[in-house]
């Protein structure tokens, strides 16, 4: 076997091995998207009830705007930005899109004179910030493909603590989260959402199913206390759904990246085997012409 042919065969083999791996990763990611979506859906009833209750409590509270979690600090000087990235790579531009969005937000905030403290979820984001030697308010890794409520609670309580600390002592005045919105299997976008302070919306929320959103609740013990109790949960839950949403997006991004890797491997195997066939054919042709040439020389000599 000619040297050239051997090289081609070896490359085909290695590409085939890679293709097997990417194919497997694609299948794993597809099955995990479904699971992640189910978890997201399972968390929705809680979210809906919680938002409805906060709405009711905010309506009932005497002066919502004075509430520490609602009040807009007069001059904000510091903001926390929670960036949700992946723990593992091979998910296309998933992590870098989120980081890019976060960078854009940070620039935007800095132009307004607000300094930014990043809180990073996911090993990819952490290594990005660590490589650039930027201080992080917090880093959380090891759960991005299957976040649990406990993970969200850990992040949420850190954020709440930073928010409740006075600005002079290093606290923050705003909390933003950058997550990846899962619109469909093929479309996910990095998005920014402000968690705190809450936007106070005065308009009456339309009832969707003729339920009782406008019921005049009695509050136990009173509206302000209820609101106090609900808002930490609101943060945890918002972080939790951002994590779940991002997890679903991560799997979708990985599936897509691995699908195109598999396609590319197939393409490569095709063109490599063409070249290998050509090399083999050339070898045979050469051998024949050598034999013919040898026979010719013999008969000419004889």
């Amino acid at each position: 076997m000619g040297a050239q042919l051997r090289v081609y065969r070896r490359r085909i083999k290695s590409v085939q091995a890679t293709k097997k791996i990417t194919k497997a990763m694609e299948l794993i990611a597809s099955s995990r998207i479904v699971k992640a979506q189910q978890r997201l859906e399972a968390s929705l009833p809680y979210l809906t009830h919680l938002y409805a209750a906060i709405n009711a409590a905010a309506t009932g509270a005497a002066d919502v705007r004075k509430h520490p979690l609602m009040a807009n600090a007069e001059n904000r000087s510091k903001a926390a930005v929670l960036v949700i990235t992946a723990d593992r790579g091979l998910a296309g531009a998933y992590s870098s899109n989120a980081i890019k969005e976060a960078e854009a937000l940070s620039t935007n905030l800095r132009e307004k004179g607000i300094s930014v403290v990043p809180y990073i979820v996911g090993r990819k984001g952490v290594s990005y910030y660590r490589f650039r030697d930027r201080a992080m308010g917090g880093q959380y890794t090891g759960f991005t493909d299957q976040p649990t409520y406990a993970d969200a609670k850990r992040i949420g309580s850190d954020l709440l603590e930073a928010f409740l600390t006075p600005t002079e002592e290093g606290g923050v005045d705003e909390i933003h989260v950058v997550y990846t919105h899962f619109s469909s299997m093929v479309a996910q976008q990095a998005r920014i959402r402000r968690i705190l302070p809450l936007e106070v919306v005065d308009e009456v929320v339309e009832s969707s199913e003729g339920s009782h959103p406008s019921a005049l609740y009695e509050f136990e013990p009173d509206a302000e206390t209820v609101l106090d109790g609900l808002l930490p949960q609101y943060i945890d839950q918002t972080v939790y759904s951002a994590l779940l949403m991002s997890a679903a997006s991560e799997h979708a991004a990985r599936r897509r990246a691995m699908k195109s890797a598999t396609d590319n491997a197939e393409e490569m195997i095709k063109s490599l085997s063409r070249q290998a066939n050509q090399a083999r054919q050339a070898e045979i042709t050469q051998e024949i012409s050598e034999i013919v040439g040898g026979a010719d020389a013999l008969s000419a000599a004889g």
Binding site: A57, Y149, H212, Y217, E220, Q237
Partner: protein, 138 residues
């Protein structure tokens, strides 16, 4: 609302909806004290005491206990929503495991803030599971 003598109850935890069905009454613990809800109660939105037990008397008269950790409930037009970060139905609690966890925590004697609330949670869990047990054996 087929029957206006019944409450339709939903117990929802952060990760999923746990239980829903018809109930005769509900007894819950709020910071102000225990509150009992029967059908046609006025709209109420109340916080639940952390790590407390919630009692639901089902339509067939059987009692179900739920251990709730951090949450609230709302009542409006005979619809009751119990919303808790963590909620456990008594029938899903492994009594032996809960007791073992409680014993372990008591033995540790470590009383920082986290330890305190963990102990409280374990106590509630055992209490909830224990009550359910006595009801079913009766």
């Amino acid at each position: 609302m087929a029957d206006d003598k019944m409450l339709s109850v939903a117990v929802v935890s952060a990760e999923r909806a746990l239980w829903s069905g018809e109930a005769k009454s509900i007894v819950a613990k709020t910071p102000e004290g225990d509150i009992g809800i029967l059908a046609n109660h006025e709209p109420v939105l109340a916080l639940l005491v952390d790590s407390s037990a919630l009692k639901i008397v089902e339509a067939d008269g059987s009692t179900m206990m739920v251990a709730v950790h951090g949450g609230f409930f709302s009542v409006a037009g005979n619809e009751v929503n119990v919303i808790a970060e963590v909620a456990e139905l008594s029938e899903n609690i492994d009594v032996e495991r809960a007791k073992a966890a409680l014993a372990r925590l008591q033995a540790e004697g470590d009383r920082d803030e986290d330890g305190q609330s963990a102990l409280k949670r374990a106590e509630t869990r055992v209490q909830v599971a224990g009550i359910a047990k006595t009801v079913t054996t009766r």
